[in-house]
Subunit: 342 residues, 2 copies
């Protein structure tokens, strides 16, 4: 008999997530039936979206999230013991899967998918540069920002999984790329290893002045992971017909829910510069491009193999440390993709 561990939502996050908002419980799994298979989590993802989307599911549900897992038992000839799958199974150590059920935890309602071998690259990349953050970076930047060689791109949350990826696509496409991140270590990584033209430490630098210096020609594309006043500052330095992709708003995720505007952070209004420069801003969710994920996976893999796209993963060891890894990621403790390794 297998005992699964899982984190269950005890309370919807309200403000800063608290350990007591999630309960770690054990669940005795029944024997698998014909057609089913059993997986054991190897890598679990912690992502900013979890802070927000967990509010949409009932208290008592397993906390949402994707994982790479290994099949350890199977009564389905299409799924063999030892194979790896990617599934949005939530924060659970072991899961019985019936492929007919699809993936009930998500917008996509797709069953977990078998992962192909990717040479000497780790399977954990399917949670990052080859997974959801990779799709988000690829489509979000290219489809919303519509970048052109010679233009200037600013990326906020630049050292995160998506930000670091977007900036590198910007370089691949011939843009001048400026990252905004929260430590000198991150900024150095962006410039020295990833080839960003500039990086601004928003915790120690005056963003307005630093951005004017880094982009005296103005900003054409802004890929926004953080929202808030920082984003207002960037927008007021944009050029005519600038494009803004709103991918995340991590600066406001610990504010109250969307139903009470009063509790949201207040920032200088953006409409003035939208009129003055005819800016365009669009919010995005990667689900929009679901039927094109093969395109982004293949292109991102190709760029990795060509040495044009680098990645970093920040691992936290141990399933029981999921909450710690999640909160650390929300506070920017990770560089690149934050992952829990079981």
């Amino acid at each position: 008999m297998v005992v699964a561990k899982k984190f269950v939502i005890a309370n919807h996050f309200d403000g800063e997530p608290k350990p007591s908002d999630l309960t770690l419980v054990e669940e005795e799994l029944p024997p698998i039936k014909d057609g089913e298979y059993l997986v054991k989590a190897e890598y679990l993802s912690v992502d900013p979206y979890m802070r927000v989307y967990s509010l949409n599911i009932p208290v008592g549900s397993v906390m949402i999230g994707g994982q790479v897992a290994t099949i350890i038992e199977s009564k389905n000839p299409k799924f063999l013991v030892g194979q790896k799958i990617l599934g949005r199974l939530g924060w659970r150590s072991h899961t019985i899967i019936d492929p007919k059920d699809g993936d009930k935890t998500t917008f996509m309602n797709q069953p977990p998918e078998l992962l192909p071998e990717i040479g000497n690259l780790p399977f954990s990349l399917h949670l990052g540069v080859l997974g959801m953050p990779g799709h988000t970076s690829y489509f979000g930047f290219l489809e919303i920002c519509n970048p052109k060689a010679g233009e200037t791109l600013v990326v906020s949350g630049a050292a995160g999984a998506v930000g670091s990826h977007v900036g590198q696509i910007g370089k691949i496409k011939g843009l001048k790329v400026i990252g905004i991140a929260g430590s000198d270590q991150k900024c150095n990584w962006l410039v020295e290893e990833l080839g960003f033209n500039h990086a601004i430490n928003y915790k120690t630098e005056n963003i307005t002045d630093a951005l004017k210096k880094a982009a005296p020609q103005g900003v054409d594309c802004y890929f926004d992971n953080v929202g808030g006043e920082l984003s207002t500052i960037v927008m007021y330095q944009m050029n005519d017909f600038g494009r803004i992709a709103v991918c995340g708003s991590i600066s406001s995720y610990n504010s109250s829910d969307l139903n009470d505007i009063e509790k949201l952070p207040k920032v200088a209004l953006v409409q003035r510069i939208f009129i003055n420069k005819q800016l365009k801003m669009e919010g995005l969710h990667v689900s929009r491009w679901f039927n094109r994920f093969d395109e982004s996976t293949n292109q991102n893999l190709k760029w990795i193999r060509e040495g044009k796209l680098k990645y970093r993963e920040t691992f936290t060891q141990g399933f029981e440390n999921m909450f710690k890894a999640f909160v650390g990621m929300m506070h920017g403790e990770n560089v690149g993709k934050a992952i829990v390794k079981v």
Copy 2:
């Protein structure tokens, strides 16, 4: 000899416009030369954009603006005494025009244009429903909001020249239309005469509650003339893939210039709802569609003649009252297009 009156910028507006920011001066005009003609202003426009764009021209310049004028003397066989022209000549009573010079006061750099007769319709419409506000309404709404029959449109500044026009195009296109305006008189006009489905008086009603009641199905298109907190409230009631056209930001025009974000009004950040609903927002300036103005003029004229597009003009008498009319318009004293009649 003709003595022209003109308003000259004495100080760039800073905060609420003051009478002393403009100086009414007289100018003796020289005799006209071959190829030139002399016009006398009949109708002068006062528009919100003047508050903002006047900051871009030097102190000492004539205040910017469009007018319909009559040719009273001519040494150019193409421009006959008695004909009417539309020109962005600024706040002046009399102007000598050399058609070769173009219109140096504007982005378009086009010479004033001879106005065709439009049957029994007044020439003043070329400043409103058949002029710049008409082009703005037509292209701004149709091109940015991309409206579809059955959707719900919210218009702010709904009783102004552009807002009242946009709402009516919304009705023509089969949308449910909700206007937000600043008096019961205006709201009644929108619903009773223009056929809006609902109108909300933002000065006396709780906008959040009133909008939830008027649009329980949510908002698909938002045509924004005012910006600020009101716009945030509307955005947080929008549906997936909602579109926002930012045409004006009159709520912030009396704040400081664009170079000092600190002085701009602070409002609840909008990024959260942009991600949640994948909203799209775009700022617009009508100059973008300059080479298609014939299309909007013709369509707007057709709608007027079919009885589908109504208009109202609020006249202020006397050239010397330009400033008063301008400030009154900024305070929402007009219904429909605000015009000074000489």
